[in-house]
Symmetry: C2
Subunit: 304 residues, 2 copies
């Protein structure tokens, strides 16, 4: 497989600004950077993404993959990001078939707002078969939650970003923060496709979910954001059968998780969590003692 050529565009992730507090005092705080990145595919303008800008090349690759505009990174010759002009130029090897038609239909989704999914992602999910052998141990889940707690860097310094991460069992593979959580998951998808293409188990134009790669069975996707339908679909598209969230789930997110056989775990903080769907993928090897201390925020969010 030919690997795409990627730039490594860098830009500061936070910006210091002066604010006024409740005492009328001036203070300096950091806020997350936010940049517009217009994606051009073979010189044709596709979309403008608003991003923190940590890994723009992976973001663009993952965006094209998750929107199903390309099936494999094999189709991409290069991604060239230039922050001076806010542009990502994608050069494909053979063009994208019917790109006009395939980017015409809009679904405005939840993602805290009105996301944009081209085409008919919902139609595709019935073709996804997640591997039955993919499971997560409760002890690994607790390690994941703890690893995230120690990690979040831009959030700790500036707040207002979402984090996503990819784990292999409890080992952190990649941690991504972005102002938009769909950008964070797309960035992970881009990195994952590159990682698989460069590893011993090459994908060669197959869907990630069709790859019979044993390392895939240990993959877990973590997000600080809610498990909306779009997040669940993207995880399933990446062939990841277990998702963990600090937040809750929406009804469509739950319906999609049930439909594709994805194990959806939410409200994961400390030793607490709720498994919303496909609990058979969760091995309860580390149950905490009964009646743990319930934090105020959690009980508020869950009591009727």
């Amino acid at each position: 497989m030919s690997m795409p050529h990627l730039t490594q565009a860098r830009a500061p992730l936070t910006r210091e600004v002066e604010v006024m507090n409740q005492h009328g005092e001036r203070e300096s705080i950091f806020i997350p950077a936010e940049r517009d990145l217009t994606v051009y595919v073979d010189k044709r303008e596709l979309v403008t993404l608003m991003t923190l800008g940590a890994h723009p090349e992976w973001l663009v690759l993952g965006y094209l993959l998750n929107q199903r505009l390309v099936r494999s990174i094999d189709e991409i010759e290069s991604v060239t990001v230039d922050w001076d002009v806010g542009a990502a130029s994608v050069k494909t090897r053979h063009g994208i078939d019917r790109i006009e038609e395939r980017t015409a239909k809009r679904v405005v989704t939840t993602g805290c707002g009105q996301g944009s999914v081209f085409g008919n992602l919902m139609d595709e999910i019935d073709q996804i078969r997640l591997p039955e052998a993919s499971v997560l141990r409760q002890s690994e889940l607790y390690e994941i939650v703890n690893a995230i707690r120690l990690k979040e860097s831009t959030y700790k310094s500036a707040g207002s970003v979402h984090a996503c991460a990819l784990f292999a069992g409890s080992a952190l593979s990649l941690f991504v923060e972005d102002v938009g959580r769909h950008n964070a998951v797309d960035t992970i998808a881009g990195w994952m496709a590159l990682d698989e293409a460069s590893g011993p188990h090459q994908a060669h134009g197959m869907l990630p979910s069709q790859v019979a790669d044993p390392s895939h069975l240990k993959k877990v996707f973590y997000t600080t954001g809610r498990l909306t339908s779009e997040m669940v679909i993207k995880s399933a598209q990446m062939g990841v059968a277990v998702v963990v969230s600090r937040s809750g789930i929406t009804q469509m997110g739950l319906e999609v998780a049930q439909r594709v056989g994805l194990c959806a775990i939410g409200r994961a903080t400390n030793k607490r969590f709720l498994c919303y769907a496909n609990a058979q993928r969760l091995v309860l090897d580390a149950m905490p003692p009964e009646a743990p201390v319930v934090s105020a925020g959690e009980s508020k969010a869950l009591s009727a």
Copy 2:
């Protein structure tokens, strides 16, 4: 002015589901409902919104206004929502001029994900002049934060929704929850346009920001979500010069607030807040005693 005819479609806002907790026990919780609502304008499919579904008619009106597809509700003859088929049929009085062209350009924004703004909203913001006399008192801000704390209903029972509210001074005009916070603000925009059209100060096809309505000066927009550029733009489009958020601000949100003269207040909990832009609109009449108790979450989010 002719008021549009609106249905009053109703649907349950939460759904009870069975989950498994960390002790391997089954329990019942509520999750927010989430429905797809496909908007047709004069029988032409425009967009599919994923929504909690509390006020679908106001949502559709506000969406059309905030996307600048219509300038006044005067242009709308009716909005007919039918949850059985997940459709909102909009009938305009005279059609929407150049609708194909104006819905062609996509900007995928932050809104926790990849939102969709048709056209060139950013180009429009320089035309917005927010009234200089619009101010908020600190004492009113504290009343707003407290009113929200007492209010949030779906969030309390099911979590995973965002809330927006419109205040007149410290008096709550409308409180809206939705799975997508852009839906919540669009719903407020729709309600506000109806309210102004039916009141003594009729808008007659003017932009809300151009209306010389004294009651407008007291308007404050509250959101539980982050102050992204899109949230700030939508508030400015509604002619509301003060926004308050429980969360923080992104860089583009701050830049837009500075550019349009909008007072942006974030991290508003209890007696604490940060004013990010245009602090001259905030009258400090209720400063708390020095050195208040800082909650762990807040200090974490703000310390570098």
